[in-house]
Symmetry: C2
């Protein structure tokens, strides 16, 4: 059986994801699709709107065959490490190919860009350094160095200003650096841009657009058209039970309290909290009454919004620099759910997997899994605050979803 | 001017406190009374029902002339250190005497008990050790050793089974160990026992009884008879503004979240968290939906309720073993409020104080004060959760209350 891998967050699973999934299977001529999905906290440094189990059900209901978890250590990491974790796992579970969405949908420019940068790494790095030293931000300096380099060695390259292209580039970089035989494929994205608002009458919208529409209208009906039926119903069930979707705004009282109970110096123990920002975080926490007003106070040219949110994620879950340093590579494949076809694939190919497949974590003593279970507990406790009797399934007791 | 010192929590200030205050001034023939009052977290390991400023107002309105703060480091400590901190401060502010409530109201048995224990310290300690080794709890072993010793050297001694007598004993011990000239006095307690429920028609009730009545009836009117008018009105104002009194039950969602976001090993960093209990704390936090059900799960013969609450206080405020170890003695006298007479006393005697008098902490860089300000911020943030617009005064900006 041939498997295609995809890297997903499904926050939430929408029609664009369904399209990407279908195309990935087609382009890769795959029998099944395996999604490596972020668990409770995501790459932009925020809690997933619904838990990993609900998102797994959405995925399986819409045609994904196997869902495995991208560990917290990678799901909340900058693009390079996020990609490394995801591609390692798709390789370990023996996918033949992986497919990612990009703006123009052709793979050669990605490979060209990878070749360009890897063959001129020293020059590239010194161009970045040069630019950073003049006071330009790191992302802008990257862009400048890339522009310089690609003008010097002309070829069709990708536009690294597009968020999806950046991730795609890092996927390829990860596959190359891992020496994996997994084949990179790309699928042209359709319609909605990354952060675009919902278009009247359109059946495709971005996940960001969907979350924004939900936050502003407070009504699931407003996004029904851009979601598969299954997604809509799972989100509806969630709201009935837990009253709210997870978000920093919803978690703000807990985040604020967590910040305030720390001393400035203790905040610097957490991953990605750069020395110096801890005072700004504390000062803003003490004087803000919402997450958005807090962010207004701490945002600066020096840090991207995403970077700030990742710091906050680590503070919130108590994930330290020391912990981060202790992890080198994924150590297990955690199964979140499977279809009948997915189960058949596991039966046939399990013996070839390069990492142990874990279905039940209760009896496993793995440090990276322990971080995921801990993050899920922090997440559940935040959701349950105010939801009274409703309790989320205990992550460490959950068996994989069968569909 | 002659000053008598009293050690108080005023949680809340009630008629029994008014009686004690009046008697203290009379017995000591004092011109003014100085109260050293716990700030935001108290000796039984719980948050004060209203903040230090409101409790200072109650005290001044009912005849206290000067209120100074007992720092967090001492206000949340076991009796020995609690007493040491309080008596150090009353000595530093040059009180001639201090007066505490006791069951029989005569000072000689306290002095006898102190002499007995200090002169037979080695024997006393080995009797305690002997008993603890047979599996008896520490408090019970203390009691056993004391019984043995007092039978061997008969004299009128105090009953150390009474909570007020234990504190009194430690006050005297502290005064003696500090070599302070401050004179110990005791005043017989009237009516209500330490934990007694409110009696119909009685004008005196214990603070514990008052808080219990408030918690069960939810109505301030139920305790109006046992409070001075000023206390009643300050409590009424508080409830109008903040909707609830502080308590572990009210802070439970935040305490639960705080416990859950820690790993077991990280919990042992906090003061008084004995190795081994961290697992029980985490397990109980994950499976309880109220503070009382949580406490039911962690209580055991090994730890008193108070001891458990003190651990939780330190976890909640983030106060570590390392911090605790770094403090040897009070370093400043923090003024919370004063009457006109109190102000006159300060004018005359300030030059003789053995520690600096601090009126505004904003410009002070003292590590022990920093702990108090931090504890007040954690407390305020907990009160403000759910109270929406209402914000408590910022502790570090507050000038002393003038009355």
């Amino acid at each position: 059986m041939k498997a295609v891998g995809i890297v997903v967050e499904y926050n939430p699973f929408h029609n664009g994801h369904a399209y990407h999934l279908e195309q990935a299977k087609k382009v890769a001529q795959a029998d099944i699709a395996i999604a490596v999905m972020s668990g409770t906290f995501l790459q932009r440094g925020e809690p997933a709107m619904v838990d990993k189990w609900t998102r797994t059900k959405m995925a399986l209901a819409s045609g994904v065959d196997i869902v495995i978890e991208l560990p917290y250590v990678y799901s909340t990491a900058p693009a390079t490490d996020f990609a490394k974790g995801a591609i390692s796992l798709l390789s370990a579970i023996r996918c033949d190919a992986f497919a990612f969405g990009s703006e123009d949908g052709s793979i050669q420019p990605f490979l060209n860009t990878y070749q360009l940068i890897s063959q001129h790494r020293t020059e590239y790095n010194s161009l970045i350094k040069e630019s950073v030293q003049t006071g330009v931000s790191y992302p802008k300096s990257l862009h400048y160095a890339y522009e310089q380099l690609s003008q010097k060695f002309p070829a069709p390259y990708i536009d690294l200003a597009q968020p999806n292209n950046i991730l795609g580039f890092h996927y390829i970089e990860a596959a190359m650096m891992l020496g994996s035989k997994i084949k990179p494929l790309t699928i042209p994205r359709i319609a909605a841009g990354y952060h675009d608002a919902l278009q009247e009458g359109a059946s495709i919208a971005s996940a960001t657009g969907i979350r924004k529409a939900l936050a502003s209208t407070g009504s699931l009906q407003s996004v029904q058209e851009v979601l598969p039926d299954a997604s809509f119903h799972y989100l509806q069930d969630w709201i009935l039970q837990y009253k709210k979707f997870a978000s920093w705004e919803a978690f703000w009282p807990l985040l604020q309290f967590t910040l305030i109970r720390h001393s400035a110096s203790e905040l610097t123990r957490y991953a990605e909290v750069t020395e110096g920002i801890e005072h700004a975080l504390l000062k803003a926490a003490k004087t803000s009454n919402s997450f958005s007003s807090f962010m207004e106070k701490i945002k600066s040219k020096r840090y991207t919004w995403t970077r700030l949110q990742r710091m906050l994620t680590h503070i919130y879950t108590g994930f330290t620099k020391e912990q981060l340093k202790s992890f080198q590579a994924p150590s297990t494949i955690r199964l979140l759910g499977m279809s009948t076809k997915g189960q058949a694939y596991l039966g046939v190919h399990k013996k070839d997997f390069t990492l142990p497949l874990i279905s039940r974590v209760a009896s496993t003593n793995d440090a990276m899994l322990a971080v995921d279970i801990h993050a899920a507990e922090v997440y559940s406790s935040s959701i349950e605050l105010g939801a009274q009797q409703a309790t989320l399934p205990k992550d460490y007791q959950m068996p994989p979803i069968r569909f």
